[in-house]
Symmetry: C2
Subunit: 462 residues, 2 copies
Amino acid sequence: MRLVVIGGVAAGTKAASRARRLDPDLEITIYQEEPEISISECGLPYLLSGVVKDRENLIARTPEDFTGRDIEVLVRHRVEKIFAEDKKLTIENLITGERFEDSYDRLIISTGAKANLPPIDGADLDGVFTLRFLRDSDAIQGHIKKYSPRKAVVIGGGYIGLEVAENLKEIGMEVAIVEVDDRVANAYGPEVAAKVAEHLKEKGVEVQTCERVEEMVSQDSRVRAIRFDGEELEAELVVIGIGIKPCVDLAEDAGVKIGATGAIQVDKYLRTNLPDVWAAGDCAESTNLVTGAASWVPLGDTANQMGRVAGTNAARGSSDDEALEFPGVLGTGVFKVFDLGVARTGLSAEDADNAGFEVVTASVDAVDTAGYYPGDGKTFVKLIADGATGRLIGAEVAGGKADKYVDICATAIWGGLSYPDLVNLDLAYAPPFGPVLSPIIQAASILANEFEKRTEGVRATE
Amino acid sequence: MRLVVIGGVAAGTKAASRARRLDPDLEITIYQEEPEISISECGLPYLLSGVVKDRENLIARTPEDFTGRDIEVLVRHRVEKIFAEDKKLTIENLITGERFEDSYDRLIISTGAKANLPPIDGADLDGVFTLRFLRDSDAIQGHIKKYSPRKAVVIGGGYIGLEVAENLKEIGMEVAIVEVDDRVANAYGPEVAAKVAEHLKEKGVEVQTCERVEEMVSQDSRVRAIRFDGEELEAELVVIGIGIKPCVDLAEDAGVKIGATGAIQVDKYLRTNLPDVWAAGDCAESTNLVTGAASWVPLGDTANQMGRVAGTNAARGSSDDEALEFPGVLGTGVFKVFDLGVARTGLSAEDADNAGFEVVTASVDAVDTAGYYPGDGKTFVKLIADGATGRLIGAEVAGGKADKYVDICATAIWGGLSYPDLVNLDLAYAPPFGPVLSPIIQAASILANEFEKRTEGVRATE
């Protein structure tokens, strides 16, 4: 029995490892285009500032680590075509140019995602980069070393853009963020986005919102400025962080069904429409557990978890009664920008409104230590609830402990908790760790008051 | 309509505030024996070291704060007797010695808990203290100032004893802990207890386990040593931290039913057996949400939450359909001892075994940052699951971020999550905040493997 895995970052390597654990006799090969596997892509921005010292630190495992577990890893190999009916593949060795054929009994597609580019000329100029692979950070670091740029422009104010802005600022560059939307961190509601914008200002990062980059100005093939709305912003380094898209061409070409999100459609066992073909990680859809709709959330931790499920099911074969389910995602995420942690889970108020929920929200700016204990951390919490049921459907957090508070909310949404649960939730308290009532419970109390008012309103009209 | 609240710390003041919010016309009086109300008792150990600078910092609110909201607060007043049939009380003014009568329509008992004393002579010696009230920390600080003791013994290795030991050590004293059980932190399993013991050793705190203090040695009415098992340990200051017990004499005398735990029995609306009498906080029982059994968990955050429910129901009156429920507790707690955070929720493996569960556990020593990101925090996580259902029923955590990880587990238990949920749980990840897979998910994966082995074991015997 032969398992082939296409793509060797989070989902692919996890799937292969898991399959090996379950079936010592399985033949397993991973094909990977990049020269490295198991890359911690989320760490790339921190290479730019030296917070992460060495690119090798971002390589969690080498091909040799897998060879030791009897998993063949072929890097710099691109799978060119999948022949699903014959369960065959053609592969190009990107170093030698050699092409060859392989076959599989079971196949996992974990081809990942790649950076979006803006629809303007100049993305190929010297000094213009995206940041998705180790070779991208190598290139940016090479450019910085060669030209010592003083002025950088980051196009896009999402979390990658914000992380890149921070890390370039930390090495002394002047940094401006240009965002096409009306706010940075636009996956968040206006309150959190405003806190991010304010924090960037405090840290000396210029922010331009509602601006679409129209042109990259170059000289001698090197970028010199970007132009938008008649304005010109000097730029000796440009990093584009305007999102990513799933790598699905190979799969689509083979007849794998692509979902409305643009990523590979899978069932709850992560099976594609093709027999014995699973998909996992950034190239695949999952289900949003709040809305029940197909959703595309390309994040490293989710990819890892999907890899575990796909690897299990590929090792066991397709029989349903032994198959593991991947239940879905909440879209939980966190990022840091300078000293501010920002996190979300579930739906934003806007998402919830668009999904047809009657939205009830409650927000609190809470201290995140006991008032009398040293430390003056603040945490903003916004809870988003379904007015019809009282159920928590989303949360946004900003503050030093954003990761702590968002994980409580994510777990609460997963467990179907409502505001009366959240008010009474038995969380841990001691003075060194937080206020007597967690910011989550404080926000939940306000939420409970909102629901009380609604009930009173109903009574008043009865 | 007149509401009387007996006891003005966490539950009592919260109940009164909540009742006021819901009913502006209610007459509300709080009787409180101590000179202060709203005391953050959990902060008391930190006064000893000066981490909390000033005792006033531990007083969250003054009687005047409540007067401003039209809530009468009478401190240094002891309620002597409740005449439940007549809905009357007799009260002693502890300053003037004056006695008077009051009446209530609705009554909330929140009389709190007091420190246990060992059954030996000497607890009244100069230099021997418990730590429950502000006057206790005042007395300890007075003793330290007067005698500059160099050697302290803490009797009891629970969280109060450990916090006191840390704070006395921090001001340069030699500190020994004497614990009757075979381990300190004995509410925890042996793994966590061993980590605590090791950490205490690193910090230079002597630990004696399996030792029952037999005698306090004195000279001129001052404690000089404690004696156990033939050994004598010099002690110029002794702090007893061997637990607390609920203050229920007043209630019991009035005919309020006391539960098997020794605390006041209440229903899910926090009603006692007497009409229009509620109980909340450290004097009252609650339901353990895992076992369904009556449980006594005297903690400040729980007291606060119970106060909210009792205050709501007392303000609204006894009609069930408007009453709020207090669902119960998980016994979630956290404490810090020097640099180590220690936390638990739900049942320990021992608790679970005693409660008749078929116990399956999984433990992991995980890093608590991304491997390549600066910081080298470690977190130990032990998950305790019900073998029959796979449901999480308890967790223990030790490490710098114990508070974060235990809150995820507490919320998971509250939501009834099982190991397949925990493995796939969508928690927040970014390199500055933790490893790609949360220590909780790592432990859950091991737990899943344990359950897999059991299933395979079943298959093998079929």
